[in-house]
């Protein structure tokens, strides 16, 4: 859990990543406690790596812990990731 607060690499919005890229989840901008917790319970927590499977017309499909998630258009601009 030590690398989760590693700020050596700048984080970028998920919206700026490309299909096929693998990135590390860093957090969500302007997220309330509830959202962060809900994401964590689904496996999306700081330090977790995620792979961009597909980007549709707005939303993204990402792979986390062997599952596929749809992240909506609003979310992909708020989720911050670090390229691996």
């Amino acid at each position: 859990m030590n690398d989760r607060n590693n700020n050596s690499l700048p984080s970028i919005p998920l919206a700026m990543t490309l299909v096929g890229q693998t990135v590390t989840f860093a957090g969500v901008r302007n997220a309330g406690r509830g959202l962060t917790h809900r994401l964590a319970e689904m496996g999306l927590m700081p330090g977790e790596s995620l792979e961009i499977i597909n980007r549709g017309p707005g939303p993204f499909i990402v792979a986390v812990k062997g599952s596929r998630f749809v992240l909506g258009r609003g979310m992909v601009n708020r989720i911050l990731v670090r390229p691996e």
Binding site: M1, R4, N5, V28, A31, R33, G34, L35, T36, H37, R38, L39, A40, E41, M42, G43, L44, M45, P46, G47, I53, N54, R55, G56, P57, G58, P59, I61, A63, K65, G66, S67, R68, F69, V70, L71, G72, R73, G74, M75, R78
Partner: protein, 728 residues
Amino acid sequence: MKDKHLTIALAGNPNSGKTTVFNAITGARQHVGNYPGVTVEKKTGSTTHGDVRLDVVDLPGTYSLTAYSIEEVVSRNFLLDEQPDVVIDIVDSSNLERNLYLATQLMELGVPLLLAFNMSDVAKNRGYNIDEKKLSELLGVPIVQTIGHKGKGIAELLDAAMAVSQDPQATSRQRYPNYGHEIEPHLQQLANLLEEKCGIRQRSRWFAIKLLENDAETIKRLGQACPEHIEELTLEAERIRHHIESICGDAAEIILADRRYGFISGACTEAVTQSVEVRHERSDRIDAVMTNRYLGLPIFALLMFLVFQLTFSVGNPVVDAFDGWKGDLAGAVGGLWGESGADSVLRSLLVDGIIEGVGAVLVFTPLIMLLFLAIAFLEDSGYMARAAFVIDRLMHKIGLHGKSFIPMLIGFGCTVPGIMATRTLETRRDRITTILVLPLMSCGARLPIYVLILGAFFPERVFKVLGIYNVTNHALWLFLIYMIGIALAIICAKIFRGTLLKGEATPFVMELPPYRMPTLKGLTIHMWERTWLYIKKAGTIILAIVVVLWALAYWPKLGDEKHAVFEQQRAIVQADAHADKEQIADRLEEIDNAEHEAKLEHSAIGRVGKTIAPVFRPCGFDWKISTATIGAFAAKEVFVGQMGVIYSVGEEADEESEPLREKLAAKYTPLIGFCIMLFSLISMPCMVTVAVTVREAGWRWAMLQVGYLTVLAWVLTTIVYQIGSRLV
């Protein structure tokens, strides 16, 4: 041992195959109800295993037992309050880590637990090698392999459930995550406080964890159990939370979630080996096409069109056959009275009221069945979630997100479960907006109206597409109607989100399940559940309404002197020596029709209809359509039943009487037909929808829903009719 019985609760993630296991255990002996006070569906079923009766409760599918959604709260309260003898957690074996998260929470809760590693065949195909014995030891919970859709491992699962229920050590053997030296001492401290101050001995660790997570539901529960100390407890928990956050840099609940995943991952590293990385490979390949940024929407539109096309091309011939039988039945029953029975009240009630009214609704059962089958297929195959994905951008523009679209798709079957499905939306704003526009998703009960109208006014034509595929113009019309509904829903949602329900769009996160071939059993059960509701409704509510409507159309009867006038006219025509046989028959029929019309206008329903008719005149509706439109408020399909009654009461019914469609075609124009469809699509939702909206959103929103939809229906229909009648 004869009357021994066991309560089993099934828990599990959405898409873990929980429903297939439930179906495999209970078969068709299922009962769908609601959890008290909330509209979460409660599915129960029962079976016998050996000499023990098993009552099985299918808990809603959840990822965890945090109280963020109503489903989670319901599941948790059920486990806490009802204390089932055994809890079976259905785990997708091909996605162990995420699925076991719920298991760790169940273990922390201290319920007698049993894990069903479902879809074990899929896991093997994907190269997972799971050492169940070892994993079972590491978790301290028995594990049984199952393949739900094939019914494999179910007997073993029930054996294991019996064993767990008889094992007093079952819960104490369970392992749960250790949260480390920064957190464990604080948990212990909170647990001690709970035991000392509130006397909570059972599950004190679990309550301590929930306090640390700042779980609102738990605080409420503790507040009731221990009102004098709750403030002290929450203050202490708050202090610890701050402390942990300052040391670890993350909120306590995030660290707890992280440790739980760590615990699972530790166990899986020891007990699971993976030979190849293949999960989702096939699904991803399908998705590369289905969710393609350019192809996604056209594919979705095409699929929806195919649903209607299939419903029509397969269903219509069956409906026609049913319609024929209905006519035969009416003739046979009517014939029982013989020549003298024309005036029998009972005969009119049976033939004109019940057979023509309820029958008109029932003959459409095959169509409804096919529609529900298609929707069940979209749901079970995993396509629904993809539809939410491809529509997200569009939905985002109107201030909702893709997830709102799933209740809308379900609304194509029936608005009521659609409204229930809005429970999965996170914010009230999104829920209300979705509920408000949901009735615009044309439901299955409106299908009979369209089919009746299309059959009457638009002669069926078949086009060949690509030289091979037959498409009927009826399917195209139907597609148009549904698209009008979707377009209006989008516009109205946009307006609501910009005015009454302003606010930022909510975050959209949703799991995309792998595609699965739906099983015949699952599809059949889903289809039958909903179809049976339709049939039951026809036999109860609609029957009652139709009888009332029949009575209103039958009484008061035309006076004898009026009848005498028509008889006199008949005598004059028959005595006419200059006319040939054909002319006489034609003129007699004209008189028959005029008498029928006079009888109806004299009846109660005729008087009511005439009173309200001016309101509907701009839409092109006469008083008969107007009354049927009002009747449709009780249930949309009543429109069809009521037209059936109106057009048969007072008529000298015999085997030769023409089908309703022909009567309509003779009476109205295709433009009016289209206006009927348009009005039925938009106008006020049925009574049940209103009742559910009141329960889910409150009176004010329900009244707004009824009001705006009715006004919108009237305005649009009037525009179409007024413009249309000037053009034609």
